[in-house]
Symmetry: C2
């Protein structure tokens, strides 16, 4: 089927999804989880073909992302049950006013309609994204990466059976067959068909969507996150936070890429930082962090000299750019010039500096004395997430079920005219 045909069918299915009550949607998620387990052998067989085709052409890290196992499929099914357990956002009255003329106006959460998601190679995104979009009352059109297409197809085939068992249209979930760039462009420009497009992937994909899309887009997930260690920081806490934000999972968007250090803290802090991230890790048999130092930092500790580009790069690796700054104002100026608006942190025991930073830094999440790694739907208490929005329109930070909905006004009268 062509992408436009899939979109036409998804559009036709959106009314049934919008009218489905909570019970029906939860039944569907439950059946979808069951069908994933039933189809386990089919999914693993498809995944084996994907893996065989990819072997030798991609890194081991990529192969691991692509690989499914009985445990990973069980985790995907679990994920669907977890989404079923979350409160239904659709139909919530967000605000209610009764006007002097007797009109009752209710701002009410309603589904977006058709949500399209462009993603890359991790097959579990297929079930995660479908569960969230469907629970939010929308039809869901998925466009995955070429390398995972067989796996995604087997997953979607199983999930569609679950939808049908619940009496919902199988067309409400679709996987785009064409994995070339052309189908991504079709989704970006399918005005009247796609109510919301969410690109989940690298900076290139996101930029292409923002530049070319005529449908509504939410940018996700590019994170050049900064930790600013203030003069008044507890240095042990700062060390723990920087280490966690950099090393606990360097490949994710909420990992730190840059450490800014107050000039008065630098002489004491930087040697400790080097010890912890470089020498200590090497001694413990862990991958040491490569430090890229500005001039003032390089005058205190050893490391690679930073180029200008190092302060504008999402390394997603064991690399940390380090700059010494004069104070909170210069730290904020640096962040304003280089941030992607994801997550930024100040470590300080000075309340005034903390307030200045929290108020003045423009990002989805601004932290005082905690790791940027907490920017996550689960950690924020949303129970799930579709991605981390780095734009300001509609949703910012982790997007849960509420953020996948819009609202409309229901106005009830008794013949009022103006």
């Amino acid at each position: 089927m062509t992408t436009m045909q899939l979109l036409g069918r998804a559009k036709a299915a959106k009314a049934a999804m919008a009218l489905a009550d909570t019970q029906k949607k939860n039944d569907a998620l439950h059946f979808m989880a069951q069908e994933l387990l039933v189809a386990r052998e089919d999914i693993l067989a498809a995944n084996a073909l994907d893996l065989a085709a990819a072997k030798g052409t991609v890194s081991d890290v990529m192969l691991d992302r692509l690989a499914l196992s009985p445990e990973r499929i069980a985790a995907m099914a679990d994920g669907m049950e977890q989404v079923a357990a979350l409160p239904d956002p659709v139909g919530q009255v967000l605000r209610r006013v009764e006007r002097p003329n007797g009109l009752v106006i209710e701002r009410t959460a309603v589904p977006m309609g058709v949500i399209a998601i462009i993603y890359e190679s991790r097959p579990n995104v297929t079930s995660d994204a479908a569960a969230l979009a469907l629970k939010a009352g929308s039809a869901c059109v998925l466009r995955g990466g070429k390398q995972a297409h067989r796996s995604a197809d087997a997953i979607v085939t199983a999930l569609k059976r679950g939808l049908e068992r619940a009496g919902l249209p199988a067309d409400a979930l679709a996987l785009v067959e064409d994995t070339s760039r052309a189908s991504a462009n079709e989704l970006m420009t399918a005005s009247g068909y796609v109510d919301l497009l969410i690109p989940r992937g690298g900076a290139g994909l996101i930029r292409a969507c923002v530049d070319n899309a005529t449908v509504p887009v939410i940018e996700t997930g590019t994170g050049i996150c900064h930790i600013y260690v203030d003069a008044a920081a507890d240095l042990a806490m700062a060390l723990d936070i920087v280490t966690n934000a950099k090393c606990s999972r360097p490949s994710v968007c909420n990992a730190a890429e840059v450490c800014l250090v107050h000039k008065d803290a630098a002489p004491a802090f930087l040697p400790k930082l080097r010890q912890r991230l470089v020498d200590g890790r090497a001694a413990a048999g862990e991958i040491p962090v490569q430090l890229r130092l500005d001039e003032r930092a390089a005058a205190i500790i050893d490391g690679t000299s930073a180029s200008d580009a190092d302060f504008d790069t999402e390394f997603l690796d064991y690399i940390l750019a380090v700059r010494v700054v004069d104070g909170v104002q210069q730290a904020m100026e640096h962040i304003a010039a280089h941030s992607t608006g994801h997550s930024e942190c100040i470590v300080t025991s000075d309340d005034h500096a903390a307030r200045t930073f929290l108020t003045g830094v423009d990002a989805a999440a601004v932290y005082h004395n905690a790791s940027t790694r907490f920017t996550d739907g689960g950690e924020f208490g949303l129970g799930c997430e579709m991605g981390i929005s780095t734009q300001k329109l509609h949703a910012r930070g982790p997007m849960g079920l509420e953020e996948l909905c819009c609202y409309k006004y229901l106005v009830r009268g008794t013949g009022q005219i103006r």
Copy 2:
């Protein structure tokens, strides 16, 4: 100054706007209102030049929209005082959670940054839009129509004096000097400078923004609004609602353009409709409404035959397209195919039909037994409005101060790592 220079200065001014407290912003609005009155003669002189240049090239309606008077300037100043009196959305904690690990996470309303507005000939939009954007804590870049440029320039000059008297940067408010299409395109593609673009104008302008913009846009104001008169409608109420929605101000976006009538109500209702809108108005010396009838309506009353295009046209005039439908389902299908997602109404005393319509119709505002003319910030209790959003992302329906803000998460910890 070039448009990009203005934008650079507005961007530099946005931090000062974001940090300004409520008192300072309200002082600025108060001083801006005073300066408008002080500059009254200058503004009227500039307006006289605009009027002289426009005379003979535009309609009398357009000339009236362009014309200022001492009373209109006083009303603009009053409007600024009214915005000052509204609650400040910035800094409101929209949601607060304390996580089991002790993190305190606050979703907090913050300004957009730089809001750009492209509008057409009414000079009062200059002060209205500036007041709303500035009170919402954003810098404001205005790009008005060529015909009103001298007036807008005199108004902005006065308003900037008010900003400065309050200790806020005059650069936080700017009027684009170039009124050619090029400057509109510059605003649409000024990524990194424009945080939100709001086009206020005809369908052509809005379409150009949606197609070409790489900055975030909110579509406003195209309204093909429908009134569906159900079999169970109180016909006197239906007549009042259709008359009000069509005739009270036909040139605005919340005016009705189409009346859908249930086949069982049509024989009784259509003759009354014709009497009220056509013959009655003519007899009273009012402009009669031209009815454009589908075949089934034309079998009951006299009128012009409707073409297909009549059901996809925002007439903004004393013209009403009329179609007879089989029931609420067909009415909803018609609306789904032809609506611009602005305001739609059902007139009925049947609760089931009302519920079906309210739930199933996808529009910013869906009415039961009230005129679509109420879709307005003031009528909805917002105290003001920047326009009516007809998109689903971010804001839908009338946009007040809250809808001109976004949010960020403030996360306070005591050294938490993950």
